[in-house]
Amino acid sequence: MDKKRQLIFRGAAILIILAIAAVMFVIGRGHTIYFDNKTAEYDGKKYESFYKVAVIKDKEKVAKLADDERGMADLMGQTLSVTLEITDEKGADPHSAKVSMPIPYSLDGIVINIPELMAGLPAEAYMTEFVPVATSEDEEEEEVVIDEFEITDDM
């Protein structure tokens, strides 16, 4: 009887831990978001880039984009909510816009085109996957060091 009771408790404990792990999978998923302030074309229409855009996440300015620039921010979780401070033209007053959008779980890096976003186009328009370009440095074979004699400096 006691064994059974223990089994139940153990099962429950394992389930709880598995549940925590699952939650971590969801809330801990990291994405890198790239913000593009670039002129883009969609459905044959052109969307002009802005003069200046500041991206504010969690009350912190994570990127400041001039015309035709790209900025980057790290994100944890599947919902991106940022405030964009947009200056349309030089000298104009900036107006801010709060944006909040779901991010697909499977993508590591995502490029968001701000002009298209601000124009209210659908997600597939302004959101593209970021594909890293392999640099030539990466191509070089890395010598794996499994030498244990090394004196580790940092402890």
Binding site: I146, E148, F149, E150, I151
Partner: protein, 349 residues
């Protein structure tokens, strides 16, 4: 006992890890020609590496015989050898003479270090192996400082810029590079046999074999087999153990010099650190146990161990295009040591 029982019993005696390792090497040798690696070159490599490492493995024998266990403190002897080598060069000897002087200089160091080490091991009977390991480590790291501080001046050894402190690697060209290997070297096609080194190993191996047949050698084996028996038979157990430690240390000193003459370089600083482990696993692979070892174990073990070290990279690489040799070497040798340490039947006392 039926035939089957006898076979299983002898297999058990031989030990599964040992069987796997031997089988693995045989497999490598069979596969080698098919995957396009040159067998003569391989065999030549094995012989060469055997000649470099044989004496370091031989250095295990006296301490195992006297019951001090596997000599994890091998680096202490190696340091004596390194001191011999560097001092010989510093004194300006060159060529074969520098090798002789290196051995002569290394000897007093080995005797002093060995005596201290033996005295210490007599104080801590039963815990030899762990303490030997750390005595080795401490002495290597102490010497790391010494190599920087000691007043060496030979431009071939010190750092070029500052003019002081020994380099990590010192080339032996012009000194005792190939000092033994060069003697009566035989070259047939791809095979080159370092006759001198092999003879030198044979000489020392014979000396140890002969020693074990003398009165004192017999006493040493008895001390290792049953110290209480030896004490009751009037043997000074501590003195015999001390002698075995000094012998092991001296052999390690000579062993590293032979290794260097074959390898062509002196490696200082942290290099001696883990040198005990290959030697320990080699002798165990050869069939020795924590308290029994013979010259045959040394020869077989060194060939098997070096065979795996030299064969795996080429054969594996040619076969599956993956160089797993390092990993295989670590798992095989450490597995062998673990096996030896966990065997209950190892000691009947």
């Amino acid at each position: 006992m039926t035939m089957k029982e006898r076979i299983t019993a002898s297999l058990k005696e031989f030990g599964l890890p040992r069987l796997i390792i031997t089988g693995f090497l045989v497999l490598l040798l069979i596969i080698a020609p098919f995957v396009g690696s040159d067998l003569p070159t391989q065999i030549s490599n094995i012989i060469n590496r055997f000649s470099w490492n044989g004496i370091l493995v031989l250095a295990m024998v006296p301490m195992v015989h006297s019951g001090c266990g596997l000599n994890f403190g091998l680096p202490l002897g190696i340091i004596s050898g390194l001191l011999g080598a560097t001092i010989s060069i510093e004194m300006g000897f060159t060529g074969g003479m520098s090798f002789v002087v290196a051995i002569l200089v290394a000897t007093p160091f080995a005797l002093v270090f060995g005596s201290l080490y033996g005295w210490l091991l007599n104080k801590i009977k039963g815990g030899e192996m762990m303490i030997a390991t750390y005595v080795g480590f401490s002495s290597v790291s102490l010497m790391c400082m010494m190599w920087l501080v000691l007043p060496y001046h030979s431009p071939n050894m010190v750092w070029g810029l500052s003019g002081k402190g020994l380099r990590t690697t010192i080339s032996l060209e012009g000194y005792f590079d190939q000092a033994l290997a060069g003697i009566a070297q035989i070259n047939i096609g791809n095979i080159s046999i370092p006759t001198g080194t092999l003879l030198f190993f044979a000489l020392l191996a014979f000396a140890i074999w002969a020693f074990l047949h003398t009165k004192t050698g017999t006493a040493m084996t008895a001390v290792g087999s049953n110290p209480k028996f030896a004490k009751a038979a009037g043997i000074n157990v501590d003195r015999i153990r001390m002698l075995s430690v000094v012998m092991s240390t001296w052999l390690a000193a000579v062993g590293i010099l032979v290794y260097e003459q074959g390898f062509g370089f002196i490696q200082l600083y942290m290099a001696p650190f883990y040198m005990a482990l290959p030697a320990v696993s080699a002798i165990l692979i050869g069939g020795a146990s924590v308290n029994k070892a013979s010259i045959m174990n040394v020869i077989v073990g060194t060939i098997l161990f070096q065979g795996i070290v030299t064969m795996t990279p080429t054969v594996m690489n040619n076969m599956i295009h993956m160089d797993m040799s390092e990993v295989i070497r670590i798992i095989a040798s450490m597995g062998m040591i673990l096996f030896a340490l966990t065997r209950k039947t190892e000691a009947s006392r």
